[in-house]
């Protein structure tokens, strides 16, 4: 089972809007996806990611805009004619049909001959490891097994594009990790173009070729996971990705450049950056005995493999989070020094957008590697 790849984009959306009464669920979404790529629609609940998926599937009609799949305009086609398979959050298995009947439902509806149906059922069931459960009813299966039936039902259609709406949200953590890898492997093996909706950034980062981060009905950033992590395009993107997410602190004008409130001696950016926001990834900050930004411990969260420290800067009120490996049981109030990384992120206060290429003239004092305070 593999599908011919198309020279063009597998999916192309142009200014897709969806209006529910007065509220715009989708406020002009444009995006492209290459054939065989794994696209994750990521965002908090209510951001429009599920609506976008439903519009793609044809379960909702877009208010305006065009949807092209493999170069074919499907904007006005009913779901059955779009050549898309879909896995629903609730799995949406037919409760009155057996596993086998569930899987071949679509083939029957499309008039695939019985012999062909049987062969494809066997293939699909084997692919997801369901061969021994074909006669059961969905109610007799565990959550993980139901998930596999939904997967098999989607892939047996051999549609080049597969949509998944938070398919793993009803599974426990261990099974979720397992299924995550399985779905990714299946997608690569069948060369499917996958559009996968989730609110879980770990799922997005680990599975995707392309992450489409959404917020309030528009695309906040459309990039690879690495790019999204390394160069967040907006303050929202910065604080959505990472555990814990990027810390954002407000820069103020100081002597010789922009500084943080409460730590006037440490110039972090050129003077014109005052009033903007500085972003630092907690895992890139290093604790130091001697030099760096003065701070005090305000709290420590031990997570097993690492500890997340909340540090109040200088005599001020702004907080930077610091992720250090292992257990680091510093009592509240302990004075520490923070060495910031060379790569700092700067965001515009008014627009929230990333300010590209600000001259960082202050790299040298913050580049040492020792971690003296916690060991």
């Amino acid at each position: 089972m593999s599908f011919a790849s198309h020279p063009d984009d597998a999916i192309r959306l142009a200014d897709v809007r969806k209006q529910f009464g007065d509220t715009a669920a989708l406020a002009g979404v444009s995006l492209k996806a290459k054939p065989g790529s794994f696209v994750v629609l990521l965002g908090p609940s209510g951001c429009g990611k599920s609506t976008l998926l439903r519009v793609l599937a044809g379960l909702e009609q877009a208010t305006s805009g065009t949807i092209e799949l493999s170069g074919r305009d499907v904007s006005r086609l009913p779901p059955a004619q779009r050549g898309i398979s879909m896995v629903f959050q609730s799995y949406a298995l037919f409760p009155h049909l057996s596993v086998a009947e569930n899987i071949v439902f679509g083939l029957k509806a499309r008039g695939v001959p019985a012999a062909d149906r049987a062969a494809r059922l066997k293939d699909a069931a084997a692919l997801v490891g369901l061969g021994h459960l074909l006669e059961r009813r969905p109610s007799q299966l565990s959550g993980g097994q139901q998930q596999r039936v939904a997967l098999a039902r989607a892939i047996v259609a051999q549609a080049p594009i597969c949509l998944m709406d938070e398919p793993l949200s009803n599974l426990d953590a261990k099974l979720r990790n397992e299924m995550r890898r399985e779905i990714r492997a299946l997608q690569q093996r069948l060369k499917l173009t996958m559009v996968y909706v989730t609110h879980d950034q770990a799922e997005a980062m680990s599975m995707a070729d392309q992450v489409v981060l959404m917020r309030d009905g528009h695309v906040e950033q459309d990039a690879s996971p690495a790019e999204l992590y390394a160069r967040p395009a907006t303050r929202f993107a910065a604080t959505f990705i990472g555990t814990p997410p990027m810390s954002l602190v407000r820069l103020t004008a100081g002597e010789g450049g922009a500084v943080l409130e409460g730590a006037p001696g440490h110039v972090l950016a050129p003077a014109q950056a005052a009033g903007q926001w500085l972003g630092v990834r907690p895992e890139e900050i290093v604790l130091s005995d001697a030099e760096g930004l003065p701070a005090g411990i305000a709290g420590a969260e031990f997570l097993g493999g690492e500890t997340v420290l909340s540090c109040v800067i200088g005599t001020g009120t702004q907080v930077l989070q610091v992720r250090v490996p292992g257990l680091c049981a510093l009592p509240v109030g302990t004075p520490v020094r923070l060495r910031l990384p060379q790569t700092l992120h700067l965001f515009d206060d008014a627009t929230g957008r990333r300010i590209e290429d600000f001259p960082s003239n202050l790299a040298s004092p913050f580049s040492s590697k020792d971690n003296a305070t916690c060991r």
């Binding site: 599937a57 044809g58 379960l59 398979s85 629903f88 959050q89 949406a92 009155h96 439902f105 509806a109």
Partner: protein, 269 residues
């Protein structure tokens, strides 16, 4: 602890009493059907099966049974055909005056049978005068009236089934290539089957046993079984009626048991 135990005894006792209250008439009817003497008196003089033979040979009973069966089956089918789309519309669409329509459809269930009968009687006569079509006393008129008492059951039970219905399975069917008709026929209807079966059963029983409304609407030579029994009782009080009732109880009980094997009625009603 004693209070808990006392509570449990009280609950079980109350449940037992209620059950006895419901079952007692059935038990007496069953007992009476086997009495040998003609005038029911206690204690019985002996037992016999003669009243079953009498009931089976009573032409008005047989004709009434056939007519009741005919009317109940047809009006149940019509009730389903009208009630299912109505329930779908009520549950899935915001139709104007939705709650009002819903109440209207359930109304025949709470309306006293005499009132319903009188109203239908007057209405059918008016229709007959206006259109010159003989409605009053016709089989069609009777079936139409019985459909009226079937519809509330269908609407109530099917609405309940649809309330917990996961609509994503219909979307899945459409995504898999099924059109609206196939989706309805192969996914929606089978998923609410327990509600449909229960609705059909209760609609059927309600129509089959209806006396008060039918009294107004039957024509000469067209008598339903409950009316035939009533007419018999006007002249005679012998266990033939008890025997006929027992046959009905057994038939309906059997229908419920068979239905329950396929659809757990306790889960729907």
């Amino acid at each position: 602890m004693n209070a808990v135990r006392f509570g449990r005894y009280a609950l079980n006792g109350a449940a037992g009493l209620s059950l006895g209250f419901i079952l007692l008439p059935l038990i007496f009817v069953t007992w009476l059907a086997f009495f040998r003497q003609e005038i029911p008196s206690f204690p019985p003089e002996g037992y016999s099966l003669q009243w079953f033979t009498a009931a089976a040979n009573n032409k008005p009973f047989i004709d009434g049974f056939v007519l009741s069966l005919e009317v109940a089956v047809v009006s149940t089918l019509i009730g389903l055909a009208l009630g299912v789309p109505a329930s779908l519309a009520l549950v899935r669409h915001r139709i104007p005056l939705g709650p009002g329509v819903s109440t209207l459809l359930l109304l025949p269930l709470v309306m006293p049978g005499i009132v319903l009968g009188t109203a239908t009687y007057v209405f059918q006569i008016e229709v007959e005068i206006a259109t010159q079509i003989p409605v009053m006393g016709s089989l069609g008129g009777l079936i139409a009236a019985h459909t009226l008492v079937v519809i509330p059951w269908v609407v109530r039970l099917v609405t309940a089934s649809l309330a917990g219905f996961d609509r994503s399975i219909e979307e899945a069917a459409q995504n898999l290539g099924a059109g609206p008709f196939t989706t309805f026929w192969r996914v929606t209807l089978p998923s609410i089957r327990p509600g449909l079966v229960a609705a059909a059963l209760f609609g059927f029983v309600t129509s089959f046993g209806n006396l008060e409304m039918s009294l107004f609407l039957v024509g000469p030579g067209r008598t339903t079984l409950p009316i035939a029994i009533l007419q018999y009782l006007e002249w005679k009080i012998d266990p033939t009626v008890a025997a006929a009732s027992l046959i009905q109880i057994v038939l309906i009980g059997a229908a419920m048991i068979v239905t329950d094997r396929y659809v757990k009625l306790s889960r729907v009603v």
